[in-house]
């Protein structure tokens, strides 16, 4: 991407990525201390989240999964309410009942998060049908992993969206891992995009660690979806820089591959691009980073001050 194409909002992208990184670093540290619920970190996938979500409008809806912190924070979620949720406190987005794995924040348009791999794919078509039927403007962005693409529901969801013409941006973060299994053990090819294309869903592969490339591709895809109401898929090539769950289990990783992808850390890439283009200076970025960390410290204080839900919440909200 030529540096002249980088708008002033590029700094906003960096700011969001720094906030996500600070949030994940905090969770990683908390988890390492033990006595903390299991969390799936999005460390290393910040560009995918920020690049796509920045291309969405306020009316658009987002579905996500167990690895959702990046998507939520990119959308403007309050890290304090997120941490409270992770810690099972009543001020969490879901009153502490979700924990880290299924945070939904309807007020932000982040709906129906499921930790059943593929769950988001099964629900996205219905959300899109409602948008379409009720004449709402927003499209539906559905985030999922390379592993989820192996579930049958991937095939069913994309085929229905293609056949009915549903306004869905499918975003596959192909991070090369599916819990403790490397992607290459689960499929013959390297990519998910051809599966979508065979169903008649236009698909594009993008460097998922280049936030500017992701953002440009997402803007273009959203524009096309808004124009014809048909689904599109973006496959973002990226990498899970941490273990499946915190605390990290480094044993499972492929050391050489990991080293390679560490070189391609999305934050480093973003910063290098901005510095090279003269859009930012080191001191400014340092200030931004400190602000992000300070926000996360405040968020943690908020979460820790929040009480656990009362025992009567055992049976609350089961039925409408």
């Amino acid at each position: 991407m030529s540096s002249t194409a980088i708008s002033g909002s590029a700094l906003a992208l960096l700011e969001r990525m720094l906030l996500i990184r600070a949030y994940e670093e905090k969770l990683i540290a908390l988890s390492a201390g033990g006595q903390f619920p299991a969390v799936c970190s999005s460390f290393g996938q910040e560009a995918a989240a920020v690049g796509v979500v920045a291309a969405l409008g306020a009316a658009d809806q987002i579905l996500t999964n167990h690895r959702s912190a990046g998507h939520l924070l990119a959308r403007g979620a309050d890290p304090g309410r997120m941490l409270a949720e992770v810690m099972g406190r009543v001020d969490g987005y879901c009153r502490g009942r979700s924990g880290s794995l299924h945070i939904a924040a309807r007020e932000l348009g982040v709906v129906l998060t499921s930790t059943i791999v593929g769950g988001e794919l099964s629900l996205a078509t219905g959300v899109a049908l409602a948008q379409q039927t009720l004449g709402r403007r927003g499209l539906v962005a559905c985030f999922f992993g390379d592993g989820a693409a192996g579930e049958g529901i991937f095939h069913e969801s994309l085929n229905l969206a293609a056949t009915w013409g549903l306004p869905i941006l499918y975003v596959c973060e192909n991070n090369q891992w599916q819990a403790y299994v490397h992607r290459r053990e689960t499929m013959l090819g390297e990519h998910i995009a051809p599966w979508a294309q065979s169903l008649g869903v236009e698909a594009e592969r993008v460097d998922g660690n280049d936030v500017f490339a992701v953002h440009a591709a997402a803007e273009a895809a959203c524009e096309r979806i808004r124009a014809d109401g048909r689904p599109r898929l973006l496959e973002l090539s990226t990498y899970r820089l941490r273990g499946h769950l915190e605390p990290d289990d480094p044993q499972a990783a492929d050391a050489a591959e990991l080293a390679l992808w560490r070189e391609r850390d999305p934050l480093r890439h973003c910063i290098a691009t901005l510095l090279a283009g003269g859009h930012a200076d080191a001191a400014g970025i340092e200030r931004m980073s400190r602000a992000a960390h300070a926000r996360i410290e405040a968020a943690l204080a908020f979460a820790e001050a929040s009480p656990y839900p009362a025992a009567d919440e055992l049976l609350a909200d089961v039925y409408a």
Binding site: R97, V111, S114, L123, L129, S157, L160, V318
Partner: protein, 341 residues
């Protein structure tokens, strides 16, 4: 499934129709009433062409053959402002749809801290009568009673089918609506101006004081036949149609058993962990001191259903067996009855 209702001369608002037509009537009425109601499934637009004609292709849709996404689409749409009805055809096909129904629709309201509602209805058929074997005929309603956050309905008459389906469509929760194949084409009187039949209320179909026969679906008819035989022998059986399996109308069952002191639960579904087990357990917990004899369950065997006609027919509890069990409970000393059941 066009409406072949014949008009009852006594009232323009009464008609004799099949349970199948009663379901279509309910769907059409609710779609007229609320533009957010829509229906989809494999063959819905082809087989329910009257609905398609009236409400158009956006609200009456055929789908690909893919139950998981049919259910998932219904769940996602329900949480987003629509009120979908998904036809999943036969209950065993629900196996493909349980993630969306159980893990999403049943749980995500609670797990999200109450952020979403799931006003959706799924239709599925089961029970003997079509001779097509256990991959079409498998009564799975107990699964969805066991799973949290769902409601479960299974009517025994066309009037209840209409009224309960209307209530299910208006309910803000996910409702699994099961239809007994054997009842689909049995005619019954339906008051077309009747209100909904509220979910969660059993119906005392026949009053009686000697023994309580609790059933649902086509087993209600078997109980009524048994009650008629018993009446001839001087035993007055009360017959209760549960109608809604979740929430279960425990009070009506307990009140009956407190009067009669004897309980027989009857259904076609397999016995172990079925709805009959739940009814029996609640009575043994909350009306134990009223019991004058052991509880009896008469259920389908713990086996798949055969396609072969005589085996399929023998699978569901028969009136003679119900009557015989009632005779045993009423006539003998409790301890003796127990040994024989």
């Amino acid at each position: 499934m066009t409406q072949n209702a014949s008009i009852n001369p006594s009232s323009l608002h009464h008609a004799v129709m099949s349970l199948s037509d009663a379901l279509d009537t309910a769907i059409a009425e609710e779609m007229r009433r609320d533009p957010r109601v829509l229906m989809f499934g494999e063959g819905v637009a082809t087989k329910r062409c009257a609905l398609l004609d009236e409400f158009g292709a956006a609200r009456v849709r055929n789908t690909p053959l893919a139950e998981a996404i049919i259910a998932g689409t219904a769940v996602g749409a329900a949480a987003s402002g629509l009120r979908p009805i998904a036809d999943l055809l036969f209950a065993p096909f629900l196996c493909y749809a349980t993630d969306a129904l159980v893990n999403s629709a049943g749980k995500l309201r609670f797990m999200s801290g109450g952020q979403f509602e799931f006003p959706l209805v799924t239709l599925a058929m089961s029970g003997g009568g079509w001779g097509v074997g256990a991959q079409h005929n498998h009564n799975l309603e107990a699964w969805f009673v066991h799973a949290p956050g769902l409601k479960v309905v299974m009517p025994s008459t066309p009037a209840d089918a209409r009224g309960l389906l209307k209530a299910a469509i208006r309910d803000d929760n996910p409702v699994l609506f099961f239809v007994d194949i054997g009842l689909l084409y049995q005619p019954g009187e339906v008051a077309l101006d009747a209100d909904i039949v509220p979910l969660g209320r059993a119906r005392v179909v026949r009053a009686g004081t000697d023994v309580s026969l609790v059933a649902y679906g086509k087993s209600v008819g078997a109980c009524l036949e048994a009650a008629a035989q018993l009446a001839a022998a001087g035993i007055e059986a009360e017959v209760i149609d549960l109608r809604t399996l979740k929430p279960l109308d425990t009070e009506t069952v307990l009140a009956s058993v407190r009067r009669s002191g004897r309980l027989i639960v009857v259904h076609e579904a397999s016995q172990s962990c079925g709805v009959g087990a739940e009814v029996a357990a609640r009575v043994a917990e909350h009306a134990w001191s009223a019991l004058r004899a052991p509880i009896v369950r008469l259920c389908g065997p713990d086996a798949p259903v055969a396609a072969s006609f005589p085996l399929e027919q023998a699978f569901a509890p028969q009136p003679a067996a119900i009557a015989a069990a009632a005779h045993r409970l009423c006539a003998r000393e409790p301890a003796v009855a127990e040994v024989n059941v």
